[in-house]
């Protein structure tokens, strides 16, 4: 929790205002109260005694506030966690903590008997009959995937977020929206043949004019989208995916070992990757602007009729 800077006055502005209104003999005489509609000229002037009373009241109130500001809670609505923050307040990759991942249940894998043998390097241990995933591998792999997403977006590449369950559809939609024109999402079924049968899917006109294959695909539930992963591999598209303990980590190019059944984990991962993607989009826009400026400058310099600073050598 934050310390120090939140005094009682900032914590409870309404209580302070109420206290000011309750101070006796001020309401009628002193103009500090907000509800008095009189102008400065209408109010009767205070007597010396009234002024001193008002000062002592204020002093009492202020010392009360000063004494008790040191105690009590510094918790406000803004600095308190609420469950919807994982979806609506995504964090940057370097701000995501291991503690946050564990609070989301990212370390809980599947049953011990269902563990894929190739997942062993990412399995920390067994507890309560389930595989516990090693978070020391998860965080670096997630950051690596974030760098890839940023790099792809920086080159104006398109990224598709795939989460084909009812709970994940909102997550992928928000993640795609964060990336603007370079972000896409698949919230319900991935139609088979989207990439391998694109002529039939999109039509000849679209396929000729527009690049319909994405440049990166992120799977929040890869086990349910193995056909899509195969299509991506056939079309030479890199893939990122949350792999659980019953999955071979090599099904995607950048596996993120974590719990694929936890919606909060998916929100965290998609949030981190989409924030990185948004940074990449900004980089690409800057780059585009710079190129445009450069082109304008070059055009101005090389055009024959332009006035130049240095006159041509005679």
């Amino acid at each position: 929790m934050s310390t120090g800077s939140h005094s009682l006055a900032t914590q409870f502005p309404r209580a302070v205002a109420r206290r000011v209104r309750q101070l006796p003999r001020l309401q009628a005489s002193f103009s500090g109260a907000r509800h008095v509609s009189q102008t400065a000229e209408d109010r009767p002037p205070l007597t010396e005694e009234q002024w001193q009373d008002m000062q002592s009241e204020r002093g009492t109130f202020q010392s009360f506030m000063d004494t008790f500001s040191r105690y009590g809670s510094t918790q406000t609505r803004d600095n308190t966690f609420q469950p919807h923050h994982t979806l609506h307040r995504p964090v940057a990759p370097n701000q995501l903590t291991l503690s946050a991942l564990m609070a989301a249940g990212a370390h809980l894998g599947h049953s011990k008997s269902l563990m894929n043998p190739n997942f062993t390097p990412y399995a920390y241990g067994i507890r309560a009959g389930i595989t516990v995933i090693d978070m020391d591998h998860t965080l670096p792999l997630l950051r690596r995937a974030a760098k890839v997403v940023r790099g792809v977006a920086a080159k104006a590449g398109s990224v598709v977020f795939v989460g084909t369950s009812p709970e994940l559809s909102t997550v992928v939609r928000k993640a795609a929206e964060r990336m603007g024109e370079y972000g896409y999402h698949v919230g319900s079924k991935w139609l088979p043949g989207t990439l391998t049968n694109r002529l039939a899917m999109f039509g000849a006109g679209t396929v000729e004019n527009v690049q319909v294959t994405p440049d990166l695909v992120i799977f929040l539930n890869p086990l349910a989208n193995l056909h899509a992963i195969r299509e991506c591999a056939q079309n030479h598209i890199p893939t990122v995916g949350i792999v659980d303990s019953n999955v071979d980590p090599r099904i995607v190019m950048y596996p993120i070992p974590a719990n694929d059944e936890s919606v909060k984990t998916a929100e965290l991962v998609a949030g981190v990757l989409s924030v990185a993607g948004r940074e990449g989009v900004e980089i690409s826009k800057e780059e585009a602007n710079r190129r445009k400026e450069r082109a304008k400058f070059v055009a101005r310099m090389t055009s024959p009729n332009s006035s130049r600073r240095e006159p041509a050598v005679a």
Partner: protein
Amino acid sequence: MVRRIATQVHKQASRLLLQKFIKREPAWFQAVLDHPPLPLPPREPPIRQDYDLPPQDQLAARTAPAKRMRPASRRPLPIHYLEDDVRTQFFKDHPFEAFRPRMLVEGGEVEAEHQIRGESWTRLRQRGSNPSPEDAIRFAVNLHESHNIPITHAYSAAIAQFRALRSEHEVSVRVALMEAETYGIKLGPSMTERMFEEEDKALKSWSKNKQADAMANTARKRWRMIPEQVGEPSAWTKGEHYIRLWQEGVRPSYAPTLATNTTKSASPPAVGGPPSQPPFPPSGNKRHANRRNPKPPVPKLKSIMTGIPP
């Protein structure tokens, strides 16, 4: 189709670029070259420390000379703490502590490490006057770890202090309640009373409102039977209505006819009504009677089958 592998997409793409099969470098190419995918690490679980390993898997036990030559297991080891054993014993000794309510509100981070750690924790009362089971368990393990007391004695000491604090708390709560009742506090229903109310509500939902059920069931059916009279007639009819219909040759209609909606109500009159017909049918074979004397036009009974198929 050539087998395409997800982890080798970048290698395949660079081969195709080299041979000019792909004209333009894809947008992901440079990013993947800058941050290449890591190969799968060697197939063994990570190195573990003793604090969360069961005793048989800790370092001392592992490095002891094995009785039989066996390759090292590559399975992940169990996660086990000393607190688990203490917890099992604690809840065996105090089963009702498990019924205390616990808050399951989700947080943004995991809880901080438990505070009872180190030599300064000598009495459970330092934790407060209302210790939780977790406090007692942690206190027992701390006595064992920091004060070098054998775990059995540490457990005995911890639960003795726990029980003393619990009884103090319970007595104070009871006394406070008696005091409040003396001063006239009005309390809501207790848990027992609330559960009784819930049970009554559940039992009431089983009682059958026969009329409502019958009407609901009839409305749901495609083919419905709506009897003219429910239950027994109020007076003895002597079967006169039945005999009259038989004599007239009126047969019941088993299937509704949509065209003929003219129905006569054929409800049997009670005893005491006009005896218009002789009580017994005329003699003779009914079949011959039918051939020689064709049946008179049959007055339609009120159709008893009113279901009309959709």
